[in-house]
């Protein structure tokens, strides 16, 4: 079994079949956005139309959740960028007591199921009598977004190494100049990638959000309500396409930003 030998036919078929299994279902989301049937999920669609895009555009109840989702995602990924980068910088600088504990702490919010993060925050809000607001949603989202930025930044710090920083100091730069002229340009694309992944993750998050939103509605929560009690089903598909594209594009961009490096973004969601 050489690595350059031709793969067995059965393996090739199983691998391609598996990839198709992962991708074909999404195609249906696009197809059903054009169906003329809005009361059932009939296949094949009895007819095709583009009217649902206009209907979705004019639905008043879609815009506020969209704005809320964008605001939450922007705030959360911004916070995560600052906190994740700081943490990565500290971890890259030194080995110290409790280092493993800290890396575990950073990963924990995403390693444990979302329902635990959600229910924990819900318990804390109940004990502290904290009313639900945009802030409570951001609190949850930023917490699990930190690890995304951290993973990207820490890998880049590791590659950067100490020699460039030492060279910069030897040439007379102080820490702030080194940060501005050496660290930031080298870190830039990793941070951009991490920030975009965090944005995508927050924009799409629903499980933690249902515990921290109260009566507010983000776009995924709007979608969830439509799934449970469908009204104009193809409109939900139109929104699903928007959500899909809004998460798909940042991921693709993050991949191209960090491609070629040994650490490619997205390895550990």
């Amino acid at each position: 079994m050489h690595s350059d030998a031709r793969p067995p036919l059965a393996l090739t078929l199983a691998a391609i079949g598996g990839l198709l299994f992962l991708h074909l279902p999404i195609v249906l989301i696009f197809l059903y956005a054009f169906t003329t049937e809005d009361r059932s999920y009939q296949f094949p669609p009895p007819g095709l139309t583009t009217e649902w895009f206009a209907v979705a555009w004019n639905r008043e109840d879609i815009w506020p959740p969209l704005y809320l989702s964008l605001r939450v995602a922007a705030l959360s990924s911004g916070l995560a960028l600052v906190l994740g980068t700081l943490c990565a910088a500290a971890m890259a600088r030194a080995r110290f007591f409790g280092r493993d504990t800290i890396s575990l702490l950073v990963v924990l919010p995403i390693a444990l199921p979302g329902i635990i993060t959600g229910m924990s925050l819900r318990s804390a809000f109940a004990i502290g009598d904290i009313p639900f607001s945009t802030f409570t949603i951001v609190l949850g989202h930023a917490t699990f977004c930190i690890v995304i930025v951290y993973n990207n930044a820490v890998a880049r710090f590791r590659r950067l190494g100490a020699s460039m920083l030492e060279a910069s100091a030897d040439l007379g730069a102080n820490s702030f100049q080194t940060f501005r002229h050496v660290i930031l340009p080298n870190l830039g694309s990793a941070l951009l990638a991490g920030g975009m992944l965090a944005f995508a993750l927050s924009f799409d998050e629903v499980i933690v959000t249902t515990f921290t939103a109260g009566q507010q509605s983000t776009l995924p929560i709007w979608m969830l309500n439509e799934l449970v009690r469908p009204r104009q089903r193809p409109v939900t598909n139109v929104v699903a396409i928007v959500v899909f594209v809004a998460t798909f594009l940042p991921i693709l961009a993050a991949y191209y930003l960090t491609r070629g490096a040994e650490e490619t973004a997205g390895g550990g969601k």
Partner: protein
């Protein structure tokens, strides 16, 4: 010495010199904001969760009684509640096993045979479904599994309509349609968590040295024998690492069984409905502690099997 070569010129330089002499101080300053955030928001909330789970609810007023009691944990053992836990763990085990079987060929092909352009195709082919919207993925399956949907259409098209009906007539796992049966729930779980299994598996397969495969072949082993005696044991930590994700994520999910499945609850649904309409936060918290406890045991075993090196 360095002070003489580069005399301090401004506050930035003085601070630099200050931190140069006290490197630990800078590390501490850098760590403080993220640690404060995670410590207060996350660990604080987890503590609140534990605290709530030791409270109970007054059966008459429906208010939370903030006094220490084990009564709420006792309620988990009531048959109807215990069934929820057993059902969820069984589903998580089934999904994990199926994901390992279905994911192995993909991971193996991507690690061993995909080169150049195909390597990128496989990478993106696994990464994009992993990251793309969770709800959209679940929604896609609601379309697929619906009674009037594509599976029924395809089954009737190839004359397998009776087979589909026979499967749905099975006790326990069957149901009125695929979208209201455990089979449906299982399929959606498998679909949504599969990439989490493939990635660590692929990483550990990539680390299997080619020389060992050549040695195995030189010693006369067939491909199957090499797979069984060399590749699988070496890839096991990756499989275990992947299973951590599939198992844990299935344990805690409540959206999928709510949208596709029978009306019988999973742990996540119990937590969600108890904290919401029922207003019983203590019992919801106790239910949420169950996946944590199960995962702690699972992680201890996984660590022994070397899964953490494969992450």
């Amino acid at each position: 010495m360095s002070d003489a070569a580069h005399p301090a010129r401004g506050p930035g330089d003085r601070l630099t010199a200050h931190f140069w002499r006290r490197p630990k101080l800078l590390t501490l300053l850098l760590l403080l904001p993220p640690l404060l955030w995670l410590g207060v928001v996350y660990i604080g909330s987890l503590a609140a969760l534990l605290l709530q789970s030791f409270y109970s609810i007054d059966p008459f007023s429906g208010l939370v009684v903030p006094e220490f009691t084990l009564k709420t944990y006792g309620e988990l053992l009531i048959p109807s509640n215990f069934d929820i836990i057993v059902r969820t763990v069984a589903m998580a085990a089934a999904v994990t096993l199926a994901a390992a079987i279905l994911g192995f060929p993909i991971a193996f092909f991507a690690a061993r045979y995909a080169k150049g352009r195909w390597k990128a195709v496989f990478y993106l082919g696994i990464m994009l479904p992993l990251w793309s919207s969770y709800l959209v993925k679940v929604y896609a399956w609601k379309l697929i599994l619906a009674k009037e949907g594509i599976i029924t259409w395809a089954a009737e098209g190839i004359g397998a309509g009776n087979l589909l009906n026979a499967v749905l007539a099975l006790p326990v796992i069957g149901g009125n349609s695929l979208s209201t049966s455990y089979i449906g729930t299982f399929l959606v779980f498998l679909y949504v968590w599969l990439p989490y299994m493939i990635l660590p598996m692929q990483a550990s397969l990539e680390r299997v040295p080619t020389s060992m495969l050549e040695a195995s072949a030189d010693l006369g082993a067939s491909n199957w024998r090499t797979l069984r005696s060399v590749i699988l044991p070496l890839a096991l930590p990756g499989v275990v690492a992947g299973s951590i994700f599939t198992f844990s994520l299935t344990l805690g999910d409540y959206i999928i069984p709510q949208i596709v499945g029978s009306s019988r609850f999973f742990i996540g649904q119990a937590v969600y409905s108890l904290q919401g309409t029922a207003g019983n936060i203590p019992l919801a918290a106790a239910f949420a502690v169950v996946p944590i406890a199960i995962m702690l045991v699972y992680l201890t075993i996984a660590r022994k099997m070397g899964a953490f090196d494969a992450l």
